[in-house]
């Protein structure tokens, strides 16, 4: 219940003061304490260390005694001519990842919920979730067997067309990589992502479906008219949460797959891989912290903005 809104019977809901609120719900508040302490200790106190982004950090003198350099640590990134390409790549890839993973996760959740046989359901669910537990390093090794120039996919292409010149040199063709990365991302994460949606679907009141069936709705109509609209809030909520990390390239994935293959940089170079490349010879804590700070601040702004948008379009699905 949102504070200050009217209850159904017209009685005005009076917003309690913070103290009143705490007193009324003291046990609930007490249960929150471990989480609050956790976040203070591990998320808020370390934020003081962000100061490192503004100093010329020397380990021997420590963060606070190092020389203050203002915005110098940000310069190398924003004055390089690549930063726009890299930021665009990061955003573009992440938007693709978020959109395709969401669509795939919802589709998987609906399909799983439609399976009636208990065993088929359990086995299918285990299989689609399994890739989530595979490390990208392993994926990158066995994907060679698939997409190498003499790999499975090219053998199929050549076999079907009978013309070796149709083979795709994946590792030399930057254009195919956004699609390839999206496929891998969906393969890896969509099954795991479907869990929350499946839980939401399971929570939908069965009598709604029964009523629809009585009215003669087909299975497809049940999905489009009942399940999807009821999933909307969850979808928006999870999307807002993933938007917060939109300025982080998925480093683990992209670096494992692409490595130092510079032929693929035009489409796969994201902020994180660029940082690795430019700073691996001269490591500099200040500069890395500076870019980390930029990524976080931009992510924060995007979360606020998308939440505001959600508030406007469909208030009940906004996070806060």
């Amino acid at each position: 219940m949102r504070a200050g809104t009217k209850k159904k019977d017209g009685q005005l809901f009076v917003k309690p003061t913070l103290l009143q609120d705490i007193r009324r719900n003291k046990w609930l508040v007490a249960m929150c304490i471990p989480a609050i302490v956790f976040f203070i200790v591990f998320s808020y106190i370390p934020m003081a260390g962000l100061y490192i982004a503004f100093v010329n950090y020397k380990p021997s003198t420590g963060i606070w005694m190092s020389q203050f350099v203002g915005l110098d640590n940000f310069k190398f990134f924003f004055t390089s001519k690549d930063w726009i390409t890299i930021t665009t790549n990061t955003l573009f890839l992440n938007v693709l990842f978020i959109a395709s993973s969401t669509v795939a996760s919802v589709a998987i959740a609906i399909m799983l919920s439609e399976i009636k046989n208990k065993w088929t359901k359990k086995i299918t669910q285990s299989i689609v979730i399994l890739p989530h537990f595979m490390s990208w390093t392993i994926v990158s090794l066995f994907s060679v067997a698939l997409i190498a120039s003499d790999g499975l996919i090219n053998k199929i292409i050549v076999g079907l067309t009978g013309d070796p010149s149709n083979a795709i040199a994946f590792y030399n063709t930057p254009g195919v990589w956004p699609a390839l990365l999206v496929c891998l991302k969906v393969w890896q994460g969509a099954g795991f992502g479907s869990i929350v949606y499946l839980a939401t679907i399971t929570g939908i009141d069965q009598s709604i479906y029964e009523a629809a069936a009585v009215d003669g709705a087909s299975r497809w109509q049940c999905i489009t008219r009942i399940t999807l609209p009821l999933l909307k809030n969850t979808i928006i909520m999870l999307t807002i949460m993933s938007v917060g990390k939109i300025f982080y390239g998925d480093f683990g994935m992209i670096y494992a797959m692409v490595g130092n293959n510079s032929l693929l940089y035009p489409t796969t170079d994201v902020i994180d891989t660029y940082l690795l490349r430019s700073l691996q010879e001269n490591t500099n804590m200040g500069m890395t912290a500076a870019i980390g700070l930029v990524q976080s601040v931009l992510g924060f702004i995007l979360v606020i903005a998308s939440n505001a948008l959600a508030n406007k379009v469909s208030p009940e699905s906004a996070l806060f």
């Binding site: 304490i33 090794l141 030399n172």
Partner: protein
Amino acid sequence: MKKNFKRIIAAACAAVLAAGCMAGCGGGSGSSGDSNTIKVMFMGSEPVGWSDVMAKYDEIGPGVKLDVEWVTQGNMKDTLNLRLTAGEDYDLVFDAPFLKLKEFAADGIYTALEDYIASGDYPNLQAAYTDDVWKANYYYGHLYAIPNMRTYGNGIDCVYYRQDLADKYGIGQIDSYEKYQQFLDAILANEPNMIPLGVSASRGFYSLFGQDAVDFAKNHIVRISAGGFCHVLLNDEETEVKDIVYEGGTPEDYANFPEKYRDGQLFGQARFNKLVEWRKYLETDSLNQKDAGAIFKGGKAASMIDNLDSYEQTESDLADSLPDAKLGTFIINDAVRNMEPEARITSLQGNNFLCIPSTSKKIDATLKFLDWVFASKENHDLFELGIEGKDWTAVGDDKYSLPEDSQYTFPGYVLTWNPNFVRFSDELPEDIYEYKSYDLDTNGYYPSPLAGFIFDTSNIQTEMTKVNAIMSENSTALEHGALNDPVEVLRKANAEAEQNGREVIKEELKKQINEFLANKNAQ
């Protein structure tokens, strides 16, 4: 009400305690209080039988006890960083330019040792290297690190190839680029399932068609990496910098250089064009090949580029997977193949070092230990090879043989590597043994005019970072011959680097080299 309040407080305390426990993990181990025990951090894993060696050391050693912590290679950089920046008490640590040495030396984390070495209190340690070597390993004007090096070089570059296939196609022993190319052509034409030359993504053609650094040095030229590779031209007296030109320069850029270099061909341009031509011998996906060694040893590639240090390993791996295969070795450099004097350039600098943190209060005990290690062959071999008679047996003065069940393997580069005490396995073929002995011979090297110079980039971080990003965009692909018109690619990258502050790097490099030369000549 009061009772409830107590409960809330109790719950909160429990939560804080739990969080405190979590935050408390990760504390390091402190130094032991005993004034005769030094705390040491080595990279690698503890050798099997290490405790026996320690027991023997305590018996015959100089009375300094060791408390050794072994850190695996993958964790070394982080562990070293965390432990030393947190000011923990270590008396001796392994470090290297590929770990934290450059930063830690600049930041004063290590003790300057030049006065200790020069004092004469540690004669055996002092005798471990010549004065030139000690001087060349100064970082920023001080000896912050004691080198562990057996040779002035980085191993002898070679191509390992399948001698059985070379024989099959009538090529025989490969001893020139022409013969090597015949071999590659034969594989390309006759072995459709084989890659003629297997290379790793990170290295590409690596040392093939390398530039002639000795010839450069004789003409007062030094090749340096400083935001891309450049050639530094010194005046004839080698007292100051005359010009600096980045690779890919035009004839106008090279106007100050001796005649034969002006077209830029000897400065890497001919090499890059050659690599494009040789690209056909690589697999299509070479830029994603993680392990060239594996495809060669597995029989999928007919040759690979490496150096002689890995000869024993390569031979036994190949014999295991392909019993019919025969390993051939092509020493790439002509002068080295013929074991000529002054065949290779040397900076006299080590790749591996030992450092004493400035927090150590036992510098004398630590140096006493190191002095003991280099006092005699027996002392040295105890650490490097283990207990004689059990872990190894001496064969003559410079060889050893291992019994069947020997398990002791000490990573010599963390402590014992030294030119005065080297033993080789008695199982090496005669010619490889000769090359390895030649590798140790100081006459095989020509000192670089800038031996001992280290480019300190701490004041030009922003420019270095930007330029490194630009240059790394193409460097790997160029090393694989994967970009057509490589010189044009280089020139474009250079133009972009100029716009992003490379002038600043160049000026700083020039300034630092001039200072270095002035210092060197003043001595």
